[in-house]
Every structure is written in C-alpha cells, then in structure tokens.
C-alpha cells in the first residue's frame, strides 16, 4: 500500500494538476513551457554553488580528517551513551549526502539491519538532511550572502534529531 502510494504520487500529482488546469481552460502546455524556462535558469544558477560545496566536501572526505576526528570524540561522547560505532556517521551526515549514504550502506551490513546499531543508523539516515549542501544551494540560488543564524539553527536541529534517534531506538 505504502509502496503503491509512493510510486503513484508523482504521476498522480502531475495528472491532477494538468487535468485541473485543462478543465479550467488554462493553456496548459504554453504555461508549462513558460514555467520550465524559469526552472532551467534556476538550475544554472545553482551550478557554481554546487561545484564549490562538493569540492570542499570531497577534499575533507579524502583527507582522512573525519576518521581522526571520530577517534578523538569517541570517548567523551560515550559518556552520553552514544555508541562509538555511530560517531563517524554523526560527523559526516551534515556534510555529505553521498559519503554518509555510502558509510550507512557499509555499516548496516556489518551491524545487521535489525540490531540496535543498525536501527540507530537507519533512523539517523531517515530523519536527517545534508545541512551543508541544502543551505548553500538554497541561499546561493537566491543570491543571499548573509545567511545569519540559518546554519547554527540547522545544525542544532540536526544534532538534536540524531541524539533522539540514538535514544529512541533503545525504547522502541
């Protein structure tokens, strides 16, 4: 049922919108093309931002810094009941979507999908976003230079969610 709904949502929404427009006598194709042009322009604006972000993330990933940092914070974090095994995902998650997904795919096979650790990393991956990709791309596309407290608030939210993931999997 859920599977069907998630597969049908995209075609269903497109059908619903185009049909409603057609019934209301909107020149649907003309209007579509007009909107699509704006989409193409927006995508082009995003490219330079994307190159900058992915370059910095790839340098950080390839340098081995994440592993060193994970080794350093493992001990203090274990005092708060955070298992050492999930520390690398905690660190990498806000920075890189592809790196955290790669790590998740590798780790879940080691831990077992239905083990406590397997469920923790699944919950973390399912409930968080790549903050340092989303914010620059969104604000960059809108030509905003000063994002004020956006990053701080997003990281607070993100890490709070990850902590909840770790604790909630003990209970449910």
């Amino acid at each position: 049922m859920i599977d069907f709904m998630s597969k049908f949502s995209v075609p269903g929404i497109i059908l619903f919108i185009v049909l409603t427009g057609f019934i209301k006598k909107v020149p649907v194709f003309d209007v579509f093309v007009e909107g699509a042009k704006e989409g193409a322009r927006a995508a082009f604006d995003v490219l330079p931002v994307m190159v900058g972000i992915l370059a910095a993330v790839s340098i950080l990933n390839a340098s081995g810094f994440i592993d060193i940092l994970a080794g350093l914070v493992e001990k203090p974090l274990s005092l708060f009941g955070i298992p050492a095994e999930v520390v690398p995902i905690l660190i990498i998650r806000p920075f890189s979507g592809s790196a955290s997904l790669g790590l998740f795919t590798k780790q879940i096979k080691v831990f077992g999908a239905d083990s406590y650790l397997g469920r923790v990393i699944s919950t973390i991956m399912g409930s968080s976003e790549t903050v340092l990709y989303t914010l620059p791309v969104y604000f960059g596309a809108a030509n905003v230079k000063n994002t004020r407290y956006a990053l701080a608030a997003s990281l607070i939210a993100s890490y709070f969610g990850m902590l909840v993931s770790i604790y909630i999997c003990r209970v449910i």
């Binding site: 699509a36 390839a62 469920r119 809108a142 994002t147 969610g161 909840v164």
Partner: protein, 191 residues
C-alpha cells in the same frame, strides 16, 4: 558564515591530507567532484524544468492558492512578514507539501524556487529575512514521511521488517524539526 566554513573545510582537508600523505587522493577527489557537480546539476535541470512548469500550471489553475490558504495559520507563525497575496506563500506551501510527500527529485527544485520567491518578498536583499532563514532550516531538517532510500537499503541488508523503524524516524524528524523552529525563533530576536 559560509565563507568561513568553506575556507576552514578546505584548509583542514588539505593540511590533514599533507600530514597523512594523502595528497594524490585529495587531488583525484576534488577533480572528480567537479564532474559530480555537473552530473547532479544536469539531472536536476530536467527535474527543475518539469516541476517549475507543472507548478506554473497549478498556479494558473488556482491550486497553489488553495493550498496556501489551507496552510495559512501555520505560515503566519513560521513566516511572518510575507505580504498576504505574495506568490511566495504559494511557493512555500507547494515546496513543503512536496517534502512531506517525499517527492525526492521535485522537492529540491520546488524548494529553490520558493526560496527565490521569499527573496523577492525581501526585496532581493543579500541579507536573509527571518522567513528565509526559517524556510532554510525547515529544509535542512528532514520532514519526509517515507524515507524510501533508507528502507530499500535496509531490505537489501536483510531486514525482516524494513519499515519497522518508521515510528522512530518520525519521532526523530519531528523532534529535530521542533528543535529547529525553536532555535530559529529564539535566535531571530538576537540576530
């Protein structure tokens, strides 16, 4: 802020790489990341054209306005200061609905377009408005109902019941979203 973080990421990365003797890995990675960005943007361009086109149709058909009216109460709290009839209201409503439905390829383009509308409502200023920051934060936390990629990977890893983590995911997402809203609301008074 982003200027600082970007510089720090590059600095830490290159220095650590030098110390650990991983310079050639870094140089490979940074060059292939450029290819990745082009691939990502090209994939996204198609989706952005499709969805901004479809959304223009929805707008002309009056659907976007109905959705915006439906979410009006929540929006007045989250995004104060947007004029009542500004197109940003509709764009934000559409984008958040796409996030909730987990429309994946549609969510990012719609979000970017909504951010552009919010920026117009802010007079295209280089400084983000409170509403823009709140919208950024909501997009930086995950508000998707069904994380399909994670479920597929769980299934491939041999989970007996991949979707058993859904309640946990929802609780964690909602907690994270509330933390983001509270943090943003508290910080907007100071900054």
């Amino acid at each position: 802020m982003l200027n600082f973080i970007w510089a720090v990421m590059i600095f830490i990365g290159v220095v650590t790489g030098l110390l650990l003797g991983r310079v050639s890995e870094i140089s490979d990675a940074v060059l292939s990341s450029c290819v990745d960005s082009i691939e990502l943007v090209i994939t996204m361009t198609g989706a952005m054209c499709l969805w901004s086109g479809i959304m223009r149709v929805a707008e002309k058909a009056g659907l976007v306005n109905s959705l915006a009216r439906l979410l009006k109460g929540v929006f007045r709290f989250l995004f104060p200061g947007i004029p009542k009839d500004h197109p940003a209201n509709g764009a934000v409503a559409v984008s958040i609905s796409a996030d909730l439905l987990g429309l994946g390829s549609a969510a990012t383009p719609l979000g970017i377009m909504a951010m552009k509308e919010l920026s117009k409502a802010n007079g295209n200023s280089p400084v983000a408005s409170n509403a823009m920051v709140m919208f950024g934060v909501l997009n930086a936390v995950c508000i998707q109902l069904i994380p399909s990629t994670v479920l597929i990977i769980r299934q491939q890893a041999g989970s007996i019941n991949p979707s058993s983590i859904l309640p946990n995911v929802w609780i964690a997402s909602v907690s994270s979203m509330l933390a983001g809203i509270i943090a943003a609301k508290l910080m907007e008074r100071r900054a």
